[in-house]
Symmetry: C2
Subunit: 145 residues, 2 copies
DNA sequence: CGTGTAAGGAATTCTGACACG
DNA sequence: CGTGTAAGGAATTCTGACACG
């Protein structure tokens, strides 16, 4: 068994993970001029360090832009899309927290790679493991080691 | 209950998520000249599209660079660090698969946000839910809806 | 309102060479 | 081997203006 490196878990919440405007535009399919306009209206934020004049975007913002874009594509106005995306943000944060808090350790079960997801409620001696068997993920309850 | 948008899950495996060399250097703490050298030795790959001469790096490569960097910091030679990182890659892919395959739906349990992680092995009528209660994640076994 | 474009300057990245060791 | 730097050119991003609607 080995610990999941802090760096790996951290990647998902790391404020250091940031993209330039070209990369964000590419990932999300939102144009650079849209991104600049949205920022001018305070719908999204970019990071500007004192050393650089160029925009950087955090992983959090990548998610926000994604959601806004999706609502736009569904036919909402920009302001409506922003509002709807706001609510989705809570869920993104939640997902990230599950990953960061719950992917406790990499291990093996019967020779298969597995992630220890920690104890099941009310059974502190039994943990849930996600196990990779034949390219399928299976959830199994096993004694905590 | 709402489906976890494909885009959100896809973000983690998306080939479109790519960083420039400056951003990768910033996230990982590895210098640009190191990244170029590692690529010249085929330890890592970058994406070069026909339109651009500049390097782009995938999320997969971000993870690889992270691991190599960590082993370097622990005192391994570059070639040893590359070999050790190679093995870790399997685990990264596995973690990603768990997230993509198992974060089935966003829902609520007793008014708390929750993620349906799917059935527990051998109990196809009972699913494991990750529930956010007081900033803590709890795993609970509940009837699948 | 929301997005695109042309323009000129600023910041970033490119390659190949060379230094150090 | 593995990394850094100075150099000049190429690609990217910047802002403010203007167009369209």
């Amino acid at each position: 068994m080995e610990q999941i490196p802090e760096e790996l878990k951290g990647l998902l919440g790391k404020p250091e993970l940031q993209l330039g405007i070209g990369d964000l535009a590419h990932v999300t399919g939102v144009s650079q001029s849209q991104l600049r306009y949205w920022e001018s209206k305070n719908y999204i934020q970019s990071i500007k360090t004192s050393e650089s004049k160029n925009r950087k975007y955090s992983l959090k913002t990548i998610g926000e832009v994604h959601f806004i874009k999706n609502f736009l594509d569904e036919g909402f106005t920009l302001t409506a899309a922003v509002k709807k995306a706001e609510k989705r943000k809570e869920f993104i944060n939640f997902m990230r927290k599950v990953i960061i808090d719950r992917f406790e350790a990499l291990t093996e079960v019967d020779g298969h790679p597995a992630i220890d997801l920690g104890p099941l409620e009310g059974q502190s001696d039994q943990n849930i493991f996600a196990i990779l068997i034949d390219q399928e993920i299976i959830l199994r309850l096993l004694p905590a080691k």
